[in-house]
């Protein structure tokens, strides 16, 4: 027999909706909701970020569809993709009398810098991490020394390497002279420019890759190293087959950070070359973007390049975030 009290209780609660978490919510109490009651805490930063980051991105996208150029105000009445067509194929856009070159050169430089910089950084970081992980003396000192460059700003790195690369007094040329290679102009040499930039950036960031890898190595139980040794693997084979495959997560997270850093290497180039003009052999999308916008006044075209750069960054970060999400780490 059914307990009449239970029946009564059920009737009373029938107008309540069952929430997904199993609780119930009654109509008409919007003000009591957790999301509303906590609003004073999350709403201000939410609005600020929404306006100044996502709002600015959205505005920039709209701007890239206009013909905004020179002084004056953008005209939002006629939106088209002309700037993107120009960016990819070049030509004379409607807002200019001059021919505008496409972005392929700087896009290519961007990709070369990104790939060479991140790959070498990771490889160097891995080697350093493995060496530092050998229970050596002064391990903390080495770790700090390798990590220190990362604490410098791009501006300091650029000025420092300008001096290092100097034809007459630079340490690099002194060293080259010592081994019999005559002084070489590096910073302004079109053949070496991009390599010089990449090298300086690698110097700055391989310590970061080392720290990420070191953390990864420390997370691998000692017994895995020992099991591989007892299984008969040589040191190289042990790292190659047992240890490095377990550093996948570390590699991916370091890679994402490094590539994104390389995309925004603008301030480094700006400081190294004292402006927006690193020359075609070291021109990356970021310098091109700023040059178009602030030197040439091609605001809309600069915005279009910014959007392309933004999409490139998204293309790198999204798969990472998605894979993290899939594995439930987000």
């Amino acid at each position: 027999m059914r307990n009449p009290l239970t029946v009564l209780k059920r009737r009373l609660s029938e107008h309540r909706e069952v929430r997904t978490d199993g609780g119930t919510t009654s109509a008409g109490s919007i003000l009591d909701r957790d999301s509303v009651r906590s609003a004073p805490f999350w709403l201000p930063p939410f609005l600020l970020i929404g306006l100044f980051i996502y709002g600015a991105i959205a505005w920039n996208i709209v701007l890239s569809l206009t013909d905004f150029q020179g002084l004056g105000t953008p005209d939002y009445s006629a939106l088209d993709f002309e700037n993107y067509v120009v960016a990819f194929f070049g030509g004379t856009p409607s807002w200019s009398e001059l021919t505008v070159s496409p972005i392929w050169n700087s896009a290519w430089n961007t990709v070369v810098l990104m790939v060479s910089f991140s790959v070498v950084c990771l490889a160097l970081g891995l080697v350093l991490a493995i060496l530092v992980d050998q229970e050596i003396r002064f391990e903390n000192t080495f770790r700090t020394i390798y990590l220190l460059p990362m604490s410098l700003s791009f501006v300091v790195t650029a000025k420092f390497w300008l001096y290092m690369y100097n034809v007459e007094t630079g340490l690099v040329n002194l060293f080259l002279g010592a081994v019999g290679v005559g002084p070489i102009e590096i910073v302004q040499n079109p053949d070496l420019k991009l390599a010089a930039v990449a090298f300086a950036l690698i110097w700055q960031f391989s310590g970061y890759a080392m720290i990420v890898y070191l953390a990864g190595l420390r997370a691998i139980p000692t017994s895995h190293f020992e099991a591989a040794r007892v299984d008969g693997a040589s040191t190289v084979r042990m790292y190659w087959r047992v240890i490095i495959p377990q550093l996948r997560t570390a590699t991916v997270s370091a890679l994402v950070v490094l590539t994104v850093f390389s995309l925004k290497a603008f301030d480094f180039l700006f400081s190294m070359y004292g402006g927006y003009q690193p020359g075609p052999s070291a021109d990356i999308l970021a310098t091109r973007m700023v040059r178009e916008a602030y030197s040439n006044g091609n605001w809309a075209y600069g915005s279009a390049i910014a959007v392309i750069l933004f999409i490139m960054a998204l293309a790198i970060v999204t798969p990472y975030i998605y894979s993290q999400y899939k594995r439930g780490e987000l």
């Binding site: 139980p221 017994s223 020992e226 099991a227 591989a228 007892v230 299984d231 693997a233 084979r237 377990q246």
Partner: protein
């Protein structure tokens, strides 16, 4: 398969500040071909270090380790033809079970892929894990990981197995099952095995022989029953057996042992064994103590006791006894009686310490002066 010999093996660790720590001190054991030796001792006694020296994961400070008559002190692990099972299993998480099992063969033999996969399949079938070969370790239960870890060692068909507490991560029930299975497996394969554990039950039940280590020093090597019935010293007596042997510190007074609590007369043999020693530790195993709830303490080997706590275990009860009732934290010792006997805390009983069951240890050196006598001829034959 081969015999493994440890001769005066010593390991000294030097700390950063220059302090030297002797982890293993002059350990010598001969392990016969196909023998199952259990290395047992409390944590930090050096048993794992000894095993790791045999595996080649630690250098040997002094002494010699040889396998099949060949000195292996300086050989890297790869050249020793030894397989090891780790406490944490150490399965490679990014490889499937089959890849885990074939790794050692790929690295240490010249076999081609077909031969390796055949061996892996055979071993997987033998271990009952053929269904799991394509899974990753993270998708396996603890017991299954344990099997894979064993399979990985077995597939290599090594000269010797080294096992470092391989069952300690399993729950009690599974541990008991795996204990039997491991024993059967080792018997079938006939591979010389060193098995490290801190669990004296595993040592008693699994080993052909037990080697008991304490503080880096080998205390005794012998069959489980030898170690149980004729311990070399007080440490072995207390370590082997659960619940542990009871110890009473006594003074020698002629042919009697005297303490604040009781006096115990010795037989002539026992008195001879004690000889000149002044202080003696009297040891008696809980199951050798006779308990009579109704009797009177008539004989000099019988004592009036009070039951402090009763721990029922089903098959038997462990009872904690004390000489004086009513103390807050009384000194107790244990006796085991049949699980069917009804005893309550607070009961007064008479406990018998049968003279043939007592052990006597020198109070200073802790060496055994006299061990219990084993009257039953078969038992004596078996253990000697």
């Amino acid at each position: 398969m081969a015999e493994l010999t440890l001769d005066g093996v010593t390991k000294v660790f030097t700390e950063d500040d220059g302090n030297e720590i002797v982890a293993v001190d002059d350990v010598s054991v001969d392990i016969e071909d196909g023998e199952f030796l259990v290395l047992v001792g409390p944590s930090g006694c050096g048993k794992s270090t000894t095993l790791r020296m045999v595996a080649g994961l630690e250098t040997v400070t002094d002494g010699e380790i040889s396998l099949a008559g060949r000195r292996i002190n300086e050989s890297p692990p790869a050249e020793r033809d030894i397989a090891m099972v780790f406490q944490s299993y150490a399965l490679y998480p990014h490889m499937t079970v089959a890849q885990n099992m074939s790794f050692g063969l790929e690295e240490s033999t010249e076999l081609d892929d077909d031969e390796i996969s055949e061996l892996v399949d055979d071993t997987a079938a033998m271990m009952g894990i053929e269904e799991l070969v394509d899974r990753k370790p993270a998708d396996l239960s603890g017991g299954q990981q344990q099997r894979v870890a064993l399979g990985r060692a077995i597939v290599r068909d090594p000269e010797a197995f080294l096992m470092d507490e391989p069952l300690s991560n399993l729950d009690a029930k599974l541990r008991a099952t795996m204990r039997t299975e491991l024993q059967r497996l080792q018997e079938d394969l006939g591979v010389t095995t060193i098995y490290v554990t801190h669990d004296q039950t595993e040592a008693m039940t699994m080993g052909d022989r037990i080697a008991i280590l304490d503080d880096g020093v080998l205390q005794q090597v012998g069959t489980p029953l030898e170690c149980y019935h004729t311990p070399n010293n007080r440490f072995v007596a207390g370590f082997i057996g659960d619940p542990s042997m009871n110890f009473f510190e006594m003074e020698v007074d002629g042919e009697r042992l005297v303490s604040d609590r009781f006096t115990y007369p010795l037989t002539a043999d026992q008195a001879d064994a004690v000889g000149e020693a002044r202080g003696v530790t009297l040891g008696i195993r809980p199951e050798d103590i006779g308990i009579d709830p109704d009797g009177n303490a008539d004989s000099p080997h019988e004592f009036d006791m009070h039951v402090d706590v009763v721990e029922p275990r089903g098959d038997e009860n462990t009872i904690h006894l004390t000489f004086e009732a009513g103390l807050d934290e009384p000194e107790t010792f244990t006796a085991t009686v049949s699980g069917l006997r009804q005893l309550q805390a607070g009961d007064s009983v008479v406990a018998t310490f049968p003279p043939e069951a007592i052990h006597l240890f020198d109070a200073d050196t802790e060496q055994a002066l006299h061990n219990r006598s084993l009257d039953i001829p078969e038992a004596t034959e078996q253990i000697v």
